[in-house]
């Protein structure tokens, strides 16, 4: 029996909601920035490009774990030769040393366009994805091609991305000086600092937020006595969750 999963519906993990609340980001905006920076080109390129590399490699790792394509991509099975050529050209672009990443990424759009036009969509029925009645995401051509190429639903990529976001875990690691190799979280923190965002104006802090920032300062020091990573994460998770609930009950 096959279990039916609703692939047109996104489960937004609590930790992700909490992180967005803590840093006053819109969930939709963060997801859109992620989508905008996941490209075929950057999945193939070794050179680092701010934001693009993190987003594309987050997907790269996910699909490497899933291995859905033993028999190739369903969407491209009818135009194999042409698709293979497109990917080869993008790969060549990625390996070329001379020109800039920006220029090469732009040029890769030519081939992504071609792939987008030719593929038979299986996993991406539309370029618009509704989070609810009021919020929607727009898929780029790159993003849909990445979905079809690896036989994955967009919701999978998005959920995988969100599942890697946890302020508690990041804080706990920083505090214990345990190296943090979660580059997806690093991507999120760049967004926190304004990366990819249109509106950079800072709204005034509410009284609750000011209290929270003071408490955050204190708890960071207070948990000095907790040397176990998991215990620290638990404490911080609870702390952030309280804030999240506090903010959401007041609205």
């Amino acid at each position: 029996m096959k279990t039916e999963i609703n692939n047109h519906w996104l489960t937004i993990p609590l930790e992700f909601r909490v992180a967005c609340t803590v840093y006053r980001l819109k969930e939709q905006e963060v997801l859109q920035i992620f989508i905008n920076h996941a490209t075929v080109y950057d999945s193939l390129a070794d050179a680092y490009s701010l934001g693009y590399s993190e987003a594309s490699k987050t997907i790269g790792i996910y699909v490497a774990e899933k291995r859905r394509t033993p028999n190739g991509s369903h969407a491209f099975s009818h135009c194999l030769a042409n698709a293979a050529n497109c990917f080869r050209w993008i790969n060549e672009l990625a390996k070329k040393v001379l020109s800039s990443s920006v220029a090469k990424r732009k040029k890769s759009l030519l081939y992504v366009d071609e792939l987008y036009k030719n593929m038979k969509r299986v996993y991406t029925s539309s370029d618009t994805f509704y989070l609810d009645e009021n919020r929607s995401l727009n898929f780029t051509k790159d993003f849909t091609v990445l979905c079809e190429l690896h036989n994955c639903y967009p919701a999978e990529y998005l959920e995988n991305f969100m599942n890697k976001i946890s302020t508690a875990e990041m804080q706990a690691r920083t505090g214990l000086k345990i190296p943090n190799d979660n580059f997806t979280m690093a991507f999120f923190m760049k967004v926190v600092l304004g990366f990819g965002r249109e509106n950079n104006e800072v709204a005034e802090f509410t009284e609750k937020e000011v209290d929270f920032i003071c408490e955050m300062d204190e708890i960071r020091l207070r948990i000095h006595t907790v040397r176990n990573l998991d215990q620290r994460i638990t404490i911080l998770k609870k702390f952030y969750l309280n804030h999240y609930q506090d903010i959401n009950t007041s609205n």
Binding site: E218, L221, R222, H224, T225, V226, R227, N228, Q231
Partner: protein, 123 residues
């Protein structure tokens, strides 16, 4: 224990002390009276926390280049936390305070023993 401490009194601190008619010595004494893990971690009073938080911040900043025995720190902080959870009752933290104070004493002894090792090892 009483020791003589020599410190530089910065200008800003001095003027505040003059304005509010505070003896620097008394002020420093009242500050260090409140630097305490047992009190801070069992305390309910908000007044008490600042001095210890300052200490914790100082430790956090100094951590890289200090000679702290980290293995001992991990061990005793774990014991500290466990003892704290075991002994926190509805008595305003009295029992827990006493219990963790014992841990702090043991920790201190262990650190001193560790630092004296280079002498005793030669014997």
């Amino acid at each position: 224990m009483e020791i003589t401490v020599n410190v530089q009194l910065p200008e800003d601190f001095m003027s505040l002390c003059t304005i509010y008619n505070i003896q620097p010595q008394q002020f420093i004494q009242s500050f260090i009276n409140k630097v305490s893990f047992p009190s801070y971690y069992t305390g309910t009073s908000k007044q008490m926390k600042w001095a210890t938080l300052f200490f914790l911040q100082y430790v956090e900043m100094a951590e890289q280049d200090s000679d702290t025995e980290y293995d001992l720190e991990d061990h005793y902080l774990q014991r500290f936390t466990d003892t704290l959870t075991e002994n926190m009752k509805n008595d305003g933290g009295v029992k827990a305070r006493a219990a963790v104070r014992v841990v702090m004493m043991d920790w201190q002894k262990a650190v001193l023993a560790e630092r004296a090792k280079y002498i005793t090892d030669q014997l």
